[in-house]
Subunit: 432 residues, 2 copies
């Protein structure tokens, strides 16, 4: 494919993407097929000779689309949202085309520098304490990780490295296995200090945990993967109070802040802590500016060596929405969750199972776990909407998360009508 | 930005990308700026109100491009290649638009199933032993990791988990810290068993290492991050002999197989080994098909929970190039490296420092390390081509890697003329 053909196919793809998203509601949100469906639809080996682009795009509809769970359908209410917006998609095209690998400052200075500044912008939107902001002379700063799991792992490794060093400073003769056997990590059922858990969007009391961690010289990492995006709104910012005690903090703009996956924002108070755990300096990655103190070599902040130019997505989204536009997006989705909550509360057969703070509603039929499992099975089978369950204190609970940017009030009303219709049928069949 | 505007802006972006790549040679390959350049060019905070798309694209040229190291310039010979092709870029647009997160089969069946089959296709292109192929009833199989570092970490964790289990099977009373203190990892200077090291593209003798590892019941992981792509050519496949002894193997199609970053292909002989180390099953990720034995939930194979639909890039590239097209790409780049090698060998002032097996040439001026450092400094400063150095047995060596898809013979000839001109000037200035 030469550049001329790319111009043509690229524009066709833009239209295909626009058509897909514009008409996504017409597709069943959840696929109707059996595991292993795809293998029988395509050859067992790659072709020897090139195939035509038409054949491939034909197969996108024949092979791929029937097997896609449409996360951006307005009827998708499962898990948590996967962020998506047109500005982020445009930035992603640019990121792919530039195709630089930003493991060091020199490998593509713009990639590193825009990332540092975008994490500062975002940190300021969240009113993070000054100590997390890189600025021109700070000791803290931010980085884009792929996912919250990676951010958590990085904080764990940095904490471990710091603890080992502390022991060795006191007694340099301590053996490594002796130190390792003494290290302790405290977690709740949901792992580290969490703001907005996945099952029910619950919040740990970090204003209580924080001072304790600081006093005991323990590393505190706070994960607000989903909820973090909401903290750009002043009315939700109090949920982040206590972050001043944390050593590291992360949340996922790729969940709820309109920046397509992957983009997990992580900040640390002391860059030296995280860099110290991973520094590696082969000659082929050295560059003349690295000792200037002004540059960041992000490979020291993460597990992978390579990294994409992901801050472009943030830059495009932050500028094309503006803070007010992003706040409006969060508020609209919280309002939709509240609307659904009201519908549930108005129906005596149902109950709300956790406080609705942001965009997630946990609810169930008053009755047995089995009955709620049956209800969810019917919902899944109908393929009109898609939900997943959670377990709260031993009870089987349904989760409705506001996910797609295209979800409107009518989808909420429709979803509720659909759920109550299936519940009605189910209850009719129950023995009295 | 609504869908109508996205159609317009998306097509403009396709043209911007095509123009960028078509005219990339006119940009200096390496930026001329000081660390911290970007911060002064943009505001310190995100805007409150939305900005226009025109302003942002204006800033792409004003703020971003001057700070980009152009990895896809035909004059970029640093590090190793970052793969890029138009079919992969089109597939990436589709991947972003679908925007599904494939942590489980149910979260998007097509995402999981295409990945398994694409890793089978690729494994067959490499003539991997049957035990690495998933097929319909195999015990092995492949997965896309983000980078080779992640693949290596996964294999290390799986090996550790397997070793701990083995001890506990013999003596269930052994304490965990006792076991941990006994675990050993053997590595060379370049870490695990490597085919094609980064400094000089050297190859470990895996036909010798392999039987030893198998006999001692040690996990063998082979990393062929760069070189792996070449094994699709029969003439280079012997370099992979011995892979039959490995427990896990990985290489990066995102380096040399035309699939844009990130796409690191990893295979294991026993899926159970890698899954066993990481299985986690909260209720919200369970689905009715997961116990059927037919489905793969890739979240058990990796550090992150979320994952993009990256196999689309492989599918587009494999089909639009065909195996023959991909082989031609590899052969062309190896031939360019050989062409450069001949030029170096024909000049008595220079020497070749490592066998040129694939697309990397390690060379230096006969003389001191200081002289070669000076030569590289002049090359970097001229910004006509971009190289990085390596250290081989204490000697400072220059690396020229064939990277961009657009590099042709004339760029090699031009690069050599440029290097010899700078070397001539340098040698003239030396005291006699």
């Amino acid at each position: 494919m030469d550049t001329a053909e790319f111009r043509r196919r690229g524009k066709e793809m833009v239209d295909y993407v626009a058509d897909y998203l514009e008409n996504i509601e017409q597709r069943p949100v959840y696929p109707d097929l059996e595991p292993g469906y795809l293998r029988s639809l395509i050859p067992t080996e790659a072709p020897l000779e090139p195939e035509s682009y038409e054949e491939i795009m034909y197969d996108v509809e024949r092979v791929i689309m029937p097997g896609v769970t449409h996360w951006h359908s307005p009827n998708f209410f499962a898990y948590f949202p996967a962020a998506s917006s047109y500005p982020a998609m445009l930035a992603d095209m640019l990121c792919t085309a530039i195709g630089s690998i930003g493991f060091s400052w020199a490998a593509s200075p713009a990639c590193t520098e825009l990332e540092t500044v975008m994490l500062d912008w975002l940190g300021k939107m969240l009113h993070l304490p000054e100590s997390f902001i890189a600025g021109t002379d700070g000791h803290g700063g931010g980085v884009i990780q792929g996912t919250a799991s990676e951010a958590t792992l990085m904080s764990l490794l940095a904490a471990r490295c710091k603890a080992i060093r502390r022991v060795l400073e006191t007694d340099a003769t301590t053996s490594e296995s002796e130190i390792l056997s003494k290290l302790v990590a405290y977690t709740s059922e949901q792992f580290c200090a969490t703001l907005g858990t996945t099952p029910s969007c619950a919040f740990d009391r970090i204003t209580e945990l924080g001072p304790f961690c600081n006093k005991e010289n323990m590393w505190m990492h706070i994960d607000a993967a989903y909820a973090g995006s909401a903290f750009i709104c002043p009315e939700f910012r109090p949920l982040l109070n206590g972050v001043e005690y944390a050593d590291s903090f992360n949340f996922n703009p790729h969940k709820w802040l309109l920046v397509n996956f992957d983009c997990s924002a992580m900040w640390v108070k002391k860059r030296a802590d995280i860099i110290g755990a991973f520094k590696m300096e082969p000659l082929y990655l050295k560059h003349e500016n690295q000792e200037s103190g002004l540059v960041t070599d992000y490979r020291h902040w993460q597990i992978p060596l390579g990294r994409r130019f992901r801050s472009l997505k943030m830059w495009f989204v932050f500028r094309m929405y503006g803070l007010k536009g992003m706040q409006a997006h969060i508020r609209k989705q919280v309002a939709l969750a509240k609307e659904f909550e009201s519908l549930v509360r108005a129906d005596k057969r149902f109950e709300i199972c956790a406080e609705v703070v942001l965009g997630l509603v946990c609810f169930r039929l008053k009755g047995s776990n089995e009955m709620n499992q049956s209800l969810l099975k019917r919902i899944t089978k109908s393929r009109e909407i898609h939900l997943v369950p959670c377990q709260l204190s031993g009870r089987f609970v349904l989760r409705l998360a506001i996910c797609a940017r295209s979800t409107e009030s009518r989808h909420i009303q429709q979803a509720w009508r659909h759920i109550t219709q299936l519940a009605f049928e189910l209850l009719q069949e129950q023995p009295h």
